[in-house]
């Protein structure tokens, strides 16, 4: 079974989305995987379109951008949908599409609209939507990568990855419904940690905490 995983993050190899794809690859070893490593350019080349067309399974993994699918990935998927529409039916094979959206807020269910967008894309492109995962606190996926998977805070991530991997590996597999999860910690702890991390990054860039409040461009 051919699986093409699309990393919809412009951050490429360093992204949380790429790490999720790696976790899936580790768990689904009976399939032939190809990873499109990053979507920076919204126009895929012919080779990429043919690669996607020949897949039995597409796995779209991307970050939530302004509550939805990133613009570059929208363009990429639009090209693919149009490519399929212009092919004869004999060239098209059944294709299952899974989604995994990670968002910077703690609530995984803030990605519900983005998964609906992928579902509508599938209907338009003539491929089968077979379910997705919306995962909150996405920035922590990489930040906690050295913490063992069995540790409580990471359990929801690996529960979601496990369910997705099982569905991908089964030729008829699908998720019964979309899953919305996040790392196991209360919202106030997430807020505290995330804001601390922003200050740490600002300090690394030579800024003070109050510099984060700059309001340029007011006329």
């Amino acid at each position: 079974m051919k699986v093409v995983a699309i990393n919809g993050s412009p951050r490429g190899e360093a992204s949380n989305s790429r790490l999720v794809i790696s976790y899936l690859q580790e768990r689904v070893s009976n399939c032939e995987w190809t990873v499109i490593p990053s979507i920076r350019n919204p126009s895929p080349d012919q080779g990429m379109l043919d690669l996607m067309l020949g897949a039995d399974v597409l796995v779209l993994v991307f970050p939530l951008y302004v509550d939805s699918v990133p613009g570059s990935l929208m363009g990429f998927l639009e090209s693919y949908a149009n490519y399929r529409k212009n092919r004869s039916k004999n060239d098209l094979r059944p294709q299952r599409v899974f989604g995994f959206v990670n968002c910077g807020f703690i609530e995984g269910n803030q990605t519900a609209g983005a998964l609906q967008v992928v579902q509508h894309f599938c209907a338009d492109a003539g491929v089968s939507w077979v379910g997705g995962v919306g995962f909150g606190s996405g920035e922590m996926i990489s930040a906690l990568k050295n913490v063992p998977a069995r540790v409580g805070i990471r359990k929801p991530l690996f529960a979601a990855v496990g369910a997705l991997a099982e569905a991908i590996a089964n030729p008829e597999g699908r998720l019964p419904e979309n899953q919305f999860l996040q790392h196991r910690l209360p919202w106030w702890a997430f807020k505290f940690i995330a804001e601390f991390m922003w200050r740490k990054q600002a300090k690394k860039n030579g800024l003070r905490s109050r510099d984060l409040f700059a309001v340029p461009d007011i006329e």
Binding site: R40, V66, D67, S72, M74, V117, Q201, V215, P216, E219
Partner: protein
């Protein structure tokens, strides 16, 4: 100062009464351009100046997800030579933001969404809790009102997703109004857009 060419003449030569309305749209789409022209006419009659932001395909580089606009040069994007800085400047100085977009799978069309992704410098990396969810704080003091005109959905379900999506986008900007999304259909009455926009702008 706002570029003079973006200000519409006010009937009777009155002074500009309010901050302008930023309008994000893709002029390469025939329907989008037609709606923009209608909005231009309605705004003129209401005395609201417009700041058009043309989201032409390729005019905005896709957001790189680098967060420089939050932790390196707060409020300023790394891409300075495309439409991004102008977009942020117009949003920072508007109380009204109007997005005109074809409904593509329940969200903004590619060109408009690519521009909208570049709005994040107007947000602050810190969080606030709003309606039981975390959202980013606003960087600028005003609470912009986000109005949206969507058209061209393929299905009723796409329209429903679009309404939900624009509501999320509105929450993101710190403004919540449930009736500020207008779906323009082929069979919409000819004055429907005018009635809706007039009500939203004057409220």
């Amino acid at each position: 100062m706002y570029p003079v060419e973006t200000l519409l003449p006010i009937p009777g030569g009155r002074a500009v009464p309010t901050k302008p309305m930023s309008v994000v749209y893709d002029p390469s789409s025939k329907a989008g351009q037609k709606i923009f022209e209608e909005v231009e006419e309605i705004s003129r009659s209401l005395g609201v100046p417009l700041l058009p932001v043309e989201a032409l395909d390729g005019r905005f580089r896709p957001c790189a997800g680098c967060f420089s606009c939050w932790v390196k040069t707060p409020g300023v994007c790394i891409y300075k030579k495309d439409g991004g800085p102008g977009l942020v400047r117009s949003l920072a100085n508007s109380n009204l933001i109007l997005v005109i977009s074809r409904i593509q799978w329940g969200t903004y069309e590619t060109s408009v969404k690519t521009a909208v992704d570049r709005m994040i410098p107007i947000l602050h990396p810190y969080f606030i809790r709003f309606n039981g969810e975390l959202h980013h704080r606003r960087r600028y003091p005003q609470r912009p009102k986000l109005l949206v005109v969507g058209f061209g959905a393929l299905t009723r379900e796409e329209e429903q997703t679009f309404i939900g999506y624009t509501e999320s986008h509105r929450n993101n900007l710190g403004w919540r109004r449930s009736r500020s999304t207008f779906i323009l259909k082929e069979d919409s009455p000819s004055d429907a857009l005018k009635a809706w926009l007039s009500q939203e702008v004057t409220q």
